[in-house]
Assembly symmetry: C2
Homo-oligomer: 296 residues x 2
């Protein structure tokens, strides 16, 4: 199986699970359920759920039972995008080439749709935990997801990002903080959740956590590079929208060549982290190749 | 002990537990933790946590171990107020006589502070569930809280409220839907969580659920009445702000006298629901008297 076929197969699987899990659009009150569907099915790559499933596979466990958890992670990711795109935050009109949630449903509904997806993710996780055999592990996963999504994780990153907009672009520590928190924390917990629920031992968990950190870093740098050198069609948002806003980015701080080297380095460290795992690590390797083959 | 002393004692207890549980204001990034503190400690009555504790007492159980769950409910309530007050929602500048969160910290930060409180509530619940002896009950409570806060509960009520603003004021079913969902669902789950974690049997749970429904109804009508006949100082927001916005209210639909009768009726039904409980039901009776003694 090649990279493209792999990503296609997994994202179709996640897509179907999301269709099965999400409340139907027609459920009263329909406005909110439509708004939730709009962003959940707006063409996301499903990277976080795919990482979660791939982590279970790398521990040599069937990944299919993890689909509800994988979907909950995608819902949390989607909620964060809806809120980030709001005019009072990053003020984006387009994402993945489609109008953002608030441009279609209004800002009030977009706030509520984000709230609802976050809340629904925990409802899904509770339903999953209720039936999962190792109760302590299920609680740990739920708690780690809440921490990763909170002020010590994703929200913390967004806060610092919001506060740094328009300020000096010279602080490497700040850039690292923003990215390890805003995007890194959710990547990391996606892999850890998959690993924990697959019964990973502490050593395996440590390997996958390291992989996750390197994956997150490489993802963010390629994202920044795409914004500088990509074209609007590929990314679905105006080129240079981050630099326009005077945001901290890797190319702005390190230059394009050095940024590319940093991606390469992170990918190599991630590959090395997989060496000690006994299960099928090809999917996790595929996902690194995906990062390198994003066009920039 | 009289009503005032009782409410004082319980809210002090909740206040202290919230101080212990909330991340310190100084934790990085401090902006978000300050914004969270601002609204959590903005003088709320702590009704939902107090109801949660009182439910445990009515089952004849020590209520103190339930404090983290009670606090998580208050955090969810606070998040909903922060988001409801946003300009893109109800657009309120004041609440309880103080500036609303977005007036102090800006709209972007207010969105994030709400998100963070919701997320943190689930982190607290996960930590609590992890240690609670009856695992199935803990999962049920977490799941019920997520459902009550979601689109079939609180968010659903807010969506319909938002959509009905400025429309015809003649729909009693719509009014009932909004209030049983926007405020009723969280009251209800506060009592149910307290009852379930205290080990209530199905009959006790049914009694407390009925009490909760009647309490929620009486609360909402008195809230509407206060808005019509109260004074600005007591409520901390401009008089008539809901009617000004052309919102559905009980006095608008039923008139003031009939609304008062409906409160009385709901309170009597709530008292009747307590009859079958074996524990200390005085606190739950106190809370009904609190509703009746709110000045209107």
């Amino acid at each position: 199986m090649d990279l493209k076929a792999y990503l296609q197969e997994r994202s179709t699987l996640v897509e179907q699970a999301l269709q099965d899990l999400m409340p139907a659009k027609e459920v009263y009150p329909p406005q909110i359920h439509e708004a939730m569907h709009y962003s959940v099915f707006a063409g996301g790559k499903r990277l976080r759920p795919i990482l979660c499933l791939a982590a279970a596979e790398a521990i040599d466990k069937d990944y299919k039972p993890l689909l509800p958890v994988a979907c909950a992670l995608e819902m949390i990711h989607t909620y964060s995008l809806i809120h980030d795109d709001l005019p009072v935050m990053d003020d984006d009109d387009y994402r993945r080439g489609k109008l953002t949630n608030h441009k279609v449903y209004g800002e009030g509904m977009a706030v509520l749709a984000g709230d609802a997806l976050l809340t629904y993710a925990f409802e899904i996780l509770a339903g999953y935990g209720q039936k999962y055999e190792k109760q302590a592990v299920a609680w740990q996963v739920l708690r780690e997801i809440a921490v990763a999504a909170g002020t010590e994780g994703m929200i913390g990153g967004q806060v610092v990002d919001l506060e740094s907009a328009g300020k000096e672009l010279a602080d490497k520590e700040l850039l690292t903080y923003i990215h390890t928190h805003k995007t890194g924390a959710l990547f990391c917990v996606s892999l850890r959740a998959g690993a924990l629920l697959a019964g990973a031992n502490p050593e395996e968990l440590a390997c996958l956590t390291l992989y996750a950190e390197k994956f997150g870093l490489a993802f963010q740098i390629t994202d920044d590079l795409l914004d500088v050198v990509g074209d609007q069609k590929k990314l679905g948002k105006p080129i240079g929208s981050d630099t326009k806003m005077n945001k901290l980015t890797y190319p702005a701080l390190y230059g394009i060549e050095k940024s590319r080297e940093l991606v390469q380095e992170a990918v190599e460290e991630a590959v090395a982290a997989l060496a000690k795992l006994s299960g099928e690590t090809k999917p996790l390797e595929f996902l690194l190749r995906y990062l390198l083959e994003r066009e920039f």
